[in-house]
């Protein structure tokens, strides 16, 4: 039976909230095997993997912080997947308990109990890659604990002794990993943007989290992942071999006066999912 657009969108929210993508789960399983027997790291990863299974089985959210919802909708779907339909799906998914009442007026702290208001959820319409003639709707849910660990650096940075070169970029990324410790729910994934203006920096860094973890890493990504994991911060900051699962880096042009390095920190619960519509 064909699902209506509304049903497709509610199902997208449900599965994004309750199911961890297979590439992320595989990376966590690999990390679990690598950690030492009897260590806090192994115990944390065992709990994480158990939690992933339990959430999927029971159709309950992987994490109670169901985060900021960001939708990426192909422009060709704009008349079908409208803002109104997306908001209706978010309201229904909230009522069903797939989303926490997680949307607050910034200063008063008043809750928009159905998770919709002007600006929530975040919806981008754009030209995104197609598959078999079908266009995508992608949802990312990013929790506040990890978002709080995202940072933006402006080079040169005197405190880090980081200049406007590749060494400087590396220092920013590793400093961000060190500052995050376990607070962002390590082992996390980093999206990095080198260059751009401040806004493009954060947007591009966050968009890197959409890339599959198992795609081939660049030389810089590989080097930084090794170095980040050598810090020994470990799962949830209790020490261990796995501080990050992956680093994804993109570049954007900059103006002569600015050189930003932006790091988007994502927790292990990297909740992203795409549906393809004809």
């Amino acid at each position: 039976m064909m699902m209506t657009i509304e049903e497709e969108l509610i199902e997208l929210v449900r599965r994004t909230s309750c199911e961890i993508p297979s590439d992320v789960r595989t990376a966590l399983e690999r990390a679990f095997r690598r950690e030492e027997k009897g260590s806090p790291a192994k115990s944390v990863l065992r709990t994480i993997l158990g939690n992933i299974a339990l959430a999927a089985e029971g159709s309950v959210p992987v994490c109670q912080d169901t985060g900021t919802l960001t939708f990426f909708v192909d422009f060709s779907l704009r008349r079908k997947v409208t803002v109104g339909k997306i908001k209706a799906a978010v309201r229904e998914a909230t009522r069903l308990g797939y989303l926490r009442k997680n949307t607050l007026s910034p200063v008063s702290g008043r809750s928009f109990d159905d998770n919709t208001c002007d600006g929530a959820p975040v919806i981008h319409y754009g030209d995104y890659p197609k598959k078999d003639g079908k266009a995508q709707v992608t949802l990312v849910m990013k929790g506040g604990g990890s978002e709080n660990m995202s940072r933006q650096y402006s080079l040169p940075d005197a405190e880090l002794a980081a200049g406007r070169d590749e060494e400087g970029v590396k220092k920013c990324v590793l400093d961000a990993v060190w500052r995050a410790q376990g607070y962002g729910c390590a082992p996390g994934v980093l999206g990095v943007c080198v260059g751009g203006d401040r806004a493009a920096g954060y947007e591009t860094a966050k968009a890197q989290l959409l890339r599959p973890l198992d795609e081939k890493a660049s030389k810089l990504e590989k080097e930084l992942l090794e170095k980040a994991n050598s810090l020994g911060i470990g799962p949830m900051g209790l020490g261990g071999k796995t501080t990050l699962l992956a680093i994804k880096i993109a570049e954007r042009p900059r103006v002569p006066a600015s050189f930003f390095v932006t790091v988007a920190y994502m927790c292990w619960a990297l909740r992203r999912r795409t549906i393809w519509l004809g």
Partner: protein, 192 residues
């Protein structure tokens, strides 16, 4: 594994050491940003935390068809935001166990040593596992005032597990990881 049951005695809490795994059963209360600010501004605590546990958590709780609260997800939130309030909270409330993630600062560690309290790290994001240990929602306070994610939920839990990450002897696992990772970072950066 140390098995702790509410009410938590000072002696048994002081016997715990950083790195111990614990299993908690009985009553625990959630409380996060709004509760801490409310308390610091002079508000009266809505429940008695004496010899109790405070869980830094904003759960997803929905009302079932039978009118009973059902916990869908209840993992820990980042504790560091409560640093400014926690030493005073510990001193005045008599709380024995703080459950959260990420750890807390030196002033909180000192208050834990002074008053006999420990910090238990639950696994961040493991909301389904934590929710499964909640046997019953016994009640809720400040639901209208704070909203569902910030309200003080009264959970009766069974075998809620975590790691003692800060004990009442001044030891914090987070501090040792932070220090060793700082040295390694300095090594990667070269002499600074």
């Amino acid at each position: 594994m140390a098995r702790l049951k509410y009410p938590f005695g000072e002696k048994e809490v002081r016997s715990l050491k950083a790195g111990d795994t614990v299993s908690i059963s009985g009553r625990i209360y959630t409380g996060r940003d709004k509760l801490h600010k409310f308390f610091a501004d002079g508000g009266a605590l809505p429940v008695d935390f004496r010899d109790g546990a405070l869980y830094h958590c904003g759960p997803i709780v929905v009302k079932g068809a039978n009118g009973e609260w059902q916990v869908k997800a209840a993992g820990p939130t980042t504790s560091v935001r409560e640093n400014p309030y926690e030493p005073d909270f510990i001193a005045k409330s008599g709380v024995r166990i703080i459950i959260g993630k990420g750890g807390m600062d030196g002033a909180t560690l000192a208050a834990m040593k002074r008053h006999g309290c420990v910090y238990v790290q639950a696994t961040g994001g493991a909301a389904a596992v934590s929710a499964a240990s909640v046997r019953r929602v016994a009640g809720v306070s400040m639901l209208d005032e704070f909203g569902a994610a910030e309200a003080v939920w009264h959970f009766d839990v069974e075998n809620f597990t975590g790691v003692v990450a800060m004990d009442s002897h001044g030891v914090s696992l987070f501090d040792s990881v932070r220090e060793s990772s700082r040295r390694r970072l300095a090594g990667l950066f070269g002499a600074r």
